[in-house]
Each structure stands twice: as structure tokens, then as C-alpha cells.
Symmetry: C2
Subunit: 368 residues, 2 copies
DNA sequence: CATGTTCCCAAAACCGTTTTGGGACTATTC
DNA sequence: GAATAGTCCCAAAACGGTTTTGGGAACATG
């Protein structure tokens, strides 16, 4: 009988600290009435209060002032839920993080969020961060957010060449921006110039005199890896070197992969003298592998990483790595989002520049 | 009676992907009517649908099944806004991050969020992450979230001995849990055993033979620093050493501070031979300062850090540091929150154990 | 047969805004 | 003076769920 009503469980609800029963009641009364209380106190109608507070221009200046004062005096805060229901918009942008990120690439991620939040909150939008346990769950997280109308737009990263999340969202015309590109590129995105990263890494090492440059790529299911590979090959070609497919090996973000690959590469015939690594973690793992083989990274073998993670500056030798202004990505993302939410449906595709932070790991190539 | 016919209707409704206009219209109709469409299609009343879908027990099992099927077939998703308005609850927990965190302590922070989100989402709660540009803005962020009814409860960290956020929230009886303690400790919290960190750091270094142990504390406005200091002093005392106030110096989380302090400490009279550092960043900064003075950290001077940030394992010498299971903190936090939201108003105060990860920076004390 | 109990359901009320469609009044134009 | 335009305001109707109200049907009990 009581079991039917969940409210029954919360019986001893407000047994708080003091005896402010009167105060509580007064407070509640004030809060309960909401916009109606303001209307009453200001001697105008509810709709006029709403229009005045929302900046419509068919309200007399004097009336508006009075309403604003009254609202302020009563401590009136419009109910988010009610406005959301009526307007059918949430004033919320949802950012989806996939779990594997959180383990290693944290700073990358939060740097972006920081700039993004700044831009959005300045316009009254809230930023909501949701997490997906695995990549496969991301589509479900997105589905839930969209279907339950929890946000006005989405942002997510780690795009793949063919991305089901994008297909799904485009199908129902839901606004979103990605961090990273796709094969079709039919949508707005922000991305760093990954092609340049691959290209310039190769060219720099070639310019340093290396003839055999390996490429330990990031996971190839991600689109940015493809760009990186393309750029790398182009850089090799531009430098007049021959591309050796056997020196282009896919790695993963777990620490061991770089080490394994390096072990195989440098115990086999014709090892490279330099390595372009798709990611700092791969580079660090590779350095450890080299050291284990008695090869000195930064002396015998040159390495260039990518992402410029905080760790890069602390490992020995310190890792030369491609960096980018994460805050700028966030800001750009935020501004694009505001435009989109403001009704501008044009597709914006933004490539953020990257720059090489030179440290100790990229040494000149020796003989041969 | 009518329990036989609806099946046919449902299957008909199910047919849907192909046609454009018809499907669109049908879809819109279905979405527009929401729960009423489900009720109509299932041949029951709106309230019955609501009760069935919300798990009340006064609904016939057969009826419930039929309603669930119908809702599924129609792709019905209850409007979050409407439910929120009527129930006056958001099913959302807000986690407040202050800006200085995002720079360095990312992993700490995200590790907790990860566990927290897992627990909350399993019970249908959403986790919202909001950021505050500075500590001072945090109270405003909180105020906004609470006053606009954007969440049912709050979580925040970096507690101070006297914390205005807590005062404000307690004043209006709004549910929250902190990460970290306060002077009064009148609320639920999760915290690591910071007293132990200080104590055991001191004791370990003393046991290694050090007689003069310095303490580079984290910022003292935070409550955990106080615990750490207390613990340290107790550890010194337990080891039969004399406590030297001149060797207890407050540092900040910017990188330079540790270096400055160390420079002063080790160019002055009677320098310590070991340092307990309130934070890994302080420790790393201190190590750099030592190296600049020609003093070898991990050989001439022992250091112990705290937090076990990812960097700790990569600096040379690798930093010995106190660690904790961040996921466990998040899980605990989540479970406490669920209990609180479920109506259990009791205060829970939970101390999470920490453990020392021994690396290279804590060396035995030399002569003297 | 009268009465009580137990389950279930339809209809209406409600949550706190925004939006709609005028209404009243004044100013301007023919 | 009537018609038109402009300004400012209002009452009532959404928005889409959940909760309450009130009662009917089936079954058990005295």
C-alpha cells in the first residue's frame, strides 16, 4: 500500500539542523510562487514579467525596471525545468568522453573543455560532460542524451573514417560538432593539422640526416591516423627517401605496444635510425624498448612524438613532440557551437595549427 | 477482451523505416503526443502508462507488459523536462571542478569521475561536470546550479577549514558530499588518509636514517594540508627527532615554488637531508632546484611526494609517492550519493587508505 | 445480502514557465 | 471624425509528463 508511493520512503525529510520552521515556510512560499509572485508583487501580469526578464522589447522601460527590482528583491530564479519544457530547449551542450581517453590523454581532453566551457557559459549555456565506458557505448550515450532531450547539441572526438555516431545524428538532424574528421567530412569539425604532423616529422628527421625512418602509428581505426600516415609518406617522398612499408607499424595506446614493436624492428634486419611516433605514449614506450636493447634514444635513434603530453617534458631524453593550443581548440569549438545554436546551419571545418616542441629525443642521423 | 487485438496494431506500428513523408508524419505524431499516444495505442489510461513505466506495483503484470511493448514499439521516451518539472527533481548530480585543478591534477580528478559516473549512471542518474574559473567563482557556480534547480546534489573538492560553500549549502539544506574535510566536519565526505601520508612519510625517511627532514607543504588554505602537517609532526616525534619549524615551508602548486624554497633552504645553514613534499609537483620542482644546486635528489637528498601523478614514474629519479585508488574513491562517493538521494540523511565520513609507491627518490640518509 | 478489502484504472489537477492572440489606449494620418 | 498604426499590457492556452482523486469491479467476510 505504502510501497506504491516512493515519497513515503522520504518521510523524515527536512529534519534539518535548527528551528527555522518559520523561515523555511516563508522561504518556500516565496520560492513556490515563482514568476507569479513576482507578477503579483510588481502589480503586472505573469506574461509581462516573463517578457521583461527575457529581454523582449515590448515592455515599458519603467515597468521593466520595476519588475527587475521586484524579481531581485524576491530572489526569483526562473525554473530551469519549466523553461526547458516550454521552450523545448535545454541550453545545454553535451561533451562525450570515451573511457580509454581518461586513462592517458587526460590533459588533452581537459584543456579543450576548459576553453569550451568558458565560451559557452558566457552565453548562458551549460556544458555537460558524459562518459562512455567503451567506444562501443558511445553511440548509446549519445542516443540517450538526444532521445531524452537532455541537450541541444553534442561534441565528441575520436572520429573514425566511417562513424556510426555521425550517421545516426545526421539522420535525425541533431546538431553536433566533432573533434576530428571522417571520410565523408559532411559535418562541422575542429581538428589539428595531423597531415602536417606526419609530414613535418618525417621531413625534420630526414633533414637531420636520417635515411631510414620508421613510423609507429596510432591505432588506424581513427581517422587522424590516416591523415598522419598520408602526411608521413608525403614527407618521406618530399625528402627524396624511399618509403618502406615494413617500417610503418600500427601501435596502440597501451604502453607495451611501442616497446614490442621496437624490439622486433631493431632486432631484425635493416632497422631504422629514426622513429616518428603517432603519440607520446607510443614514443615513450618505444624509448623504453630501445633502452632495453642497449640503444640510446636521442643518441643512436631519433624520436618525435605527438600530443606534447606533460610527461613528454619529463622523460629522459625529453621527448620532442608536436603540440597544439588546446585552449584555442576549445574556444573555437565553443564559438562554432554558439553560431550553430544561434541558427547558423552552415558547415564549419576548422584545422588548428600544430607546432613542434623541440627537446632532446630528435638527434642528427649518424653514418649511412 | 481487447488484449488480443492490440498485438496486430503494434506490429503495424513497428513497420517503419522505409517511407519518407508518411513515416515522418507518423513519427512526429507519435513524438508529439508522448505518453498519451502510448496510452491510446495500448488501450489504457495515461496514468496507467506512467505507473507501469515507473515501476509502481499496482499495475497488472499483463497490462504492464503490454504497455512496455507499446512504448518500445512507438519509440516513446518520456520527456526529461516534463518529469523534472512535475517531480521537482533532476536526476542529476553536479560535480564542481575548479580551474587550477585542470592544469595538473587531471588524472586525479578524472579517475574519481570515472568511478562516480559508473555508479550513478547505473541508477539512472546523470553526472554533470561544471567548471569554475577560480576558487572564488565556485560558490557562484554552486549557487547557480542550486538556485536554478539544475541538480539534486553536489560534489566538490578542495575543501578549506572554513568553507563558505559548505556554509551556504548547509544553510538551505541542499545535499552535497565533499572530497576532503573541514574544520567542523559537519557533513558527509570522502577523504584520503592525509594524516597518515604526513606521518608515514616522516617515519619512513627517519627510518632510512635521516635526522633533518624538511616539509614542503601544499597550500595551507586547504584543509588536507593541515592534516598532513599534523601527521608529519607526529611522525617526526614518533621517530624521536626534533621538529624544526624552519623546515616546514608552504609551497604552491605552480612549479617554481618548490625550486625557490629548496634554493633558499639548501644555501642556508643546516639544510635538511630529506624532504617530504605535499604534492608531486612540489617534489618535482624541488628536485629541479636541487639539481641546479648540484645536489643529487635520490642520492644526496631523499624526497617523498604525494598523489602519485603519472609524471611521478617518469621523472629521474623516479619519485616515491603516496598513491590511492581513485576509482575506489569515485565508487564510494557514488554509493554515498545514491544513499543520500534515496532518502538516507545520515552523515557518512569515509577515509580512504593510501599506500606508498616506492621508486628511486627516497634514499637512505648519510652521515650525521 | 450487506459490508469491507484489495486491485486497478480514467479523468482531472498540477508543475512554472513561455507563447498566443488580442485588448485598451494613445498618436498619427486621411 | 474615422481609420490606421503603434505601444504596452494581459488572460488563457500550451508544454508533457506525474500525482491525486474518486470510483468500479472482483473477491472475501460476517
Amino acid at each position: 500500500m505504502f510501497s506504491t508511493s516512493p515519497a513515503a520512503i522520504i518521510t523524515h525529510w527536512c529534519e534539518g539542523q535548527g528551528e527555522d520552521v518559520t523561515d523555511q515556510a516563508a522561504d518556500n512560499q516565496g520560492q513556490r510562487s515563482g514568476i507569479r509572485a513576482v507578477a503579483k508583487a510588481a502589480g503586472v501580469s505573469v506574461s509581462t514579467v516573463s517578457r521583461a526578464l527575457n529581454g523582449y522589447d515590448d515592455v515599458n522601460a519603467e515597468t521593466r525596471r520595476k519588475i527587475e527590482e521586484t524579481a531581485e528583491a524576491l530572489g526569483y530564479k526562473p525554473s530551469y525545468a519549466a523553461a526547458m519544457l516550454r521552450r523545448n530547449q535545454t541550453n545545454t551542450v553535451t561533451f562525450v568522453v570515451s573511457k580509454p581517453w581518461t586513462k592517458y590523454v587526460d590533459p588533452y581532453f581537459l584543456g579543450i573543455l576548459d576553453g569550451l566551457e568558458m565560451v559557452l557559459s558566457a552565453q548562458g549555456y551549460d556544458l555537460q560532460v558524459v562518459m562512455a565506458r567503451e567506444f562501443e557505448k558511445e553511440i548509446e550515450v549519445i542516443r540517450r542524451a538526444v532521445e531524452r532531450n537532455r541537450c541541444d547539441a553534442l561534441i565528441f572526438a575520436r572520429t573514425r573514417p566511417e562513424d556510426e555516431r555521425i550517421d545516426w545524428l545526421e539522420e535525425r538532424g541533431f546538431p553536433f560538432i566533432t573533434i576530428g574528421q571522417t571520410q565523408r567530412n559532411s559535418h562541422s569539425f575542429v581538428d589539428r593539422d595531423q597531415h602536417k604532423v606526419g609530414r613535418e616529422s618525417a621531413r625534420r628527421l630526414a633533414a637531420l640526416g636520417h635515411k631510414h625512418i620508421g613510423h609507429l602509428t596510432s591505432p588506424q581505426r581513427y581517422n587522424y591516423t590516416r591523415n598522419s600516415i598520408e602526411g608521413f609518406r608525403q614527407g618521406i617522398e618530399m625528402s627524396g627517401l624511399g618509403f618502406d612499408p615494413a617500417h610503418e607499424i600500427e601501435c596502440f595506446l597501451s604502453r607495451r605496444t611501442g616497446e614490442e614493436v621496437v624490439t622486433e624492428l631493431f632486432t631484425g634486419p635493416n632497422p631504422p635510425t629514426a622513429l616518428v611516433c603517432g603519440n607520446d605514449l607510443i614514443a615513450i614506450s618505444a624509448m623504453e624498448g630501445l633502452q632495453r636493447l642497449g640503444i640510446r634514444p636521442g643518441v643512436d635513434v631519433a624520436l618525435i612524438g605527438c600530443d606534447d603530453m606533460p610527461i613528454a617534458a619529463y622523460v629522459r631524453p625529453a621527448l620532442t613532440s608536436f603540440s597544439q593550443d588546446l585552449g584555442a581548440i576549445g574556444l573555437r569549438l565553443g564559438r562554432m557551437m554558439l553560431a550553430r545554436l544561434g541558427g547558423d546551419n552552415s558547415i564549419v571545418q576548422d584545422i588548428i595549427d600544430t607546432f613542434l616542441v623541440i627537446r632532446e629525443s630528435d638527434c642528427p642521423g649518424g653514418a649511412t
